[in-house]
Amino acid sequence: MSELTDLLSVTAQLLLGLALLLTLGHLLRARSLLERVVALEILSASTVGGAAILTLTRGESATIDLALAVALVSFTGAIAFGSFIERRRSDG
């Protein structure tokens, strides 16, 4: 990799870290459960992106399987949380 490519991938990782920190801040200051679920969605998407960047910079093809697994789990979790919040409201 050339120097420019290195600089660009470091920039991408810094931006991703910024996204993770902002999302974590919103996760801590959120009042309701739904706000936290939205923040968790962004957190898991950032994890998918981080695994993809790891694949790009280190040349390991195993971490992209990690990205796929995290995407699958976050989708299932979001659907479960949504139906749980709906059902909790209609029961009470």
Partner: protein, 138 residues
């Protein structure tokens, strides 16, 4: 003779920066948006684009055929599931009674230098409660 591998590395790094930028934008939208509906609307699109661009960067820069197919499968999965997640969460918010917050900006403010934006739940006339047109009896 252009070195194809170095060029692909450069393209992949640019895509990675763009994708991480969109993810950071989605995280920023969590702070800038007033209620959960606008947060969902802003973040679901930015998150899909950002994560897909990062997976595409891995596909372009990786150079392995299996890697490319797995990254494409991940992109397709994200594009299929992200609208479903946005719909389910928005429906859960609506059915559990979360009121949308509307930011109303008076187009003809009586005090042009003051802060004319008002936030609040919708009133019966389609404008937020507490906002009255100038000259209207309060």
């Amino acid at each position: 003779m252009v070195d194809l591998s170095a060029f692909l590395d450069l393209v992949a790094a640019l895509m990675a920066v763009l994708g991480a930028f969109f993810l950071a934008l989605a995280a920023l939208a969590l702070f800038r948006m007033p209620d959960i509906y606008s947060r969902l609307s802003a973040t679901s699109k930015a998150v899909t684009l950002g994560a897909s661009m990062l997976l595409g960067a891995a596909a372009v820069g990786g150079g392995d055929a299996g890697l490319v197919w797995r990254a494409l499968a991940g992109i397709a999965f994200l594009f299929l599931t992200s609208p479903i997640v946005g719909h389910v969460l928005g429906r859960a918010a609506w059915r559990s009674g979360v009121e949308p917050v509307v930011v109303y900006r008076d187009p003809f403010p009586t005090d042009p230098l003051g802060d004319a934006a008002t936030e609040g739940p919708l009133g019966p006339d389609g404008r937020p409660e507490g906002v009255r047109r100038s000259g209207e009896a309060g």
